[in-house]
Symmetry: C2
């Protein structure tokens, strides 16, 4: 199958959304936890969480177009500065998916989707108790992407909570052991299965 | 295991890089193909390719800090405007990983890592013949992320080439069928295994 730009623009609406949302490959499934200045918690699934840097430890995520609907996650982050990233594992992906339903602004997705709020070490934003790998984040800045009215939200890692058993002696997280899931498109969930650890390229360079 | 911001900053250097590169969950494995204005091709593995929007069809990716080393991919994109995104499948991940080795600027990773350049429908940038799912891209803009000197490169999809068998009647790509791989950290490759298609939330909304 070959699709030109013109073909893509003329695809049926849903088909186009599905294929373009699938085309980048596997995406990480994460739940973003926030709390409003009025104390109402919010939980939303994001498939656009992306590593930006290790020192400082920076993570990005894209928020969808702002014009049509109120985006509670971004709004809460701007007001309170703090948010959490929680891996969606194989036991909770169905509840996680339901957080995409647009509930009223006074209703918490934690309750509606059967997740328990967890406040670890006095961190201001709620973690998801049912998640195995949890990151506390602080807002750093955002970049407006005017061409389609989206926003890249950049935050710095404040803390990490995860099972000892998921981390190797060299710092690698085994995503198969943690049962962390991936998403393709908007609705399809995947398990991950480790193929192989390859060598760190910088080491190979030193050997040359 | 609980790591505070202070704990993270004091982690041994490699351990910190590994855990922070793993913490966002599974990342897609893609090869970016470019060609310089002198006609020298370049191929580089990226784990930061991210969906930004479907209409227009926009894809982003982050280029690592520019100050220490010359980044041929970004430089070629700025000069020629065109590049390709090619899924790394289970048959080619070892060669794809080797593209991270710093070869001289007159040496093409296509040749060094045993990939064949493919020019489809007169597209100016080289595709990877051995890849199953290939996207032709045109540069749109980039955003400087000054806090760690990285760059978000944004491009628009110009064309898509993929096997008919990988696409459902509603436009979803089955990443297990295409054997597309994921990466955790810098060096660990994962296969993906479909768990389930869930319903499209907008449809659920309409039912309510």
């Amino acid at each position: 199958m070959y699709l030109s730009k013109n073909d893509i623009e003329n695809l049926e609406f849903t088909f186009r959304i599905n294929i373009i949302n699938s085309i980048t490959g596997i995406k990480p499934a994460n739940l973003i936890g926030t709390i409003s200045d009025k104390g109402i918690t919010n939980l939303a699934i994001f498939s656009s969480v992306v590593h930006i840097g290790s020192n400082p430890a920076l993570i990005g995520m894209f928020s969808r177009p702002m014009k049509k609907v109120k985006r509670n996650t971004f709004s809460n982050i701007l007001k309170t500065q703090f948010y959490t990233i929680n891996h969606v594992n194989e036991n909770i992906y169905e509840g996680a998916h339901k957080t995409s339903i647009k509930y009223g602004k006074n209703i918490s997705e934690f309750k509606e989707c059967n997740f328990e709020e967890e406040y670890l070490n006095n961190f201001k934003a709620p973690f998801v108790r049912e998640s195995n790998i949890k990151i506390g984040m602080k807002y750093v800045e955002h970049k407006d992407i005017k061409i389609n009215n989206t926003v890249l939200i950049i935050g710095e890692v404040q803390n990490i909570t995860l099972p000892d058993s998921a981390v190797s002696s060299t710092g690698y997280i085994n995503l198969e052991n943690s049962k962390s899931t991936g998403i393709s498109g908007c609705n399809t969930y995947y398990a991950v299965k480790k193929i192989k650890d390859l060598s760190y390229i910088e080491n190979e360079l030193k050997k040359k």
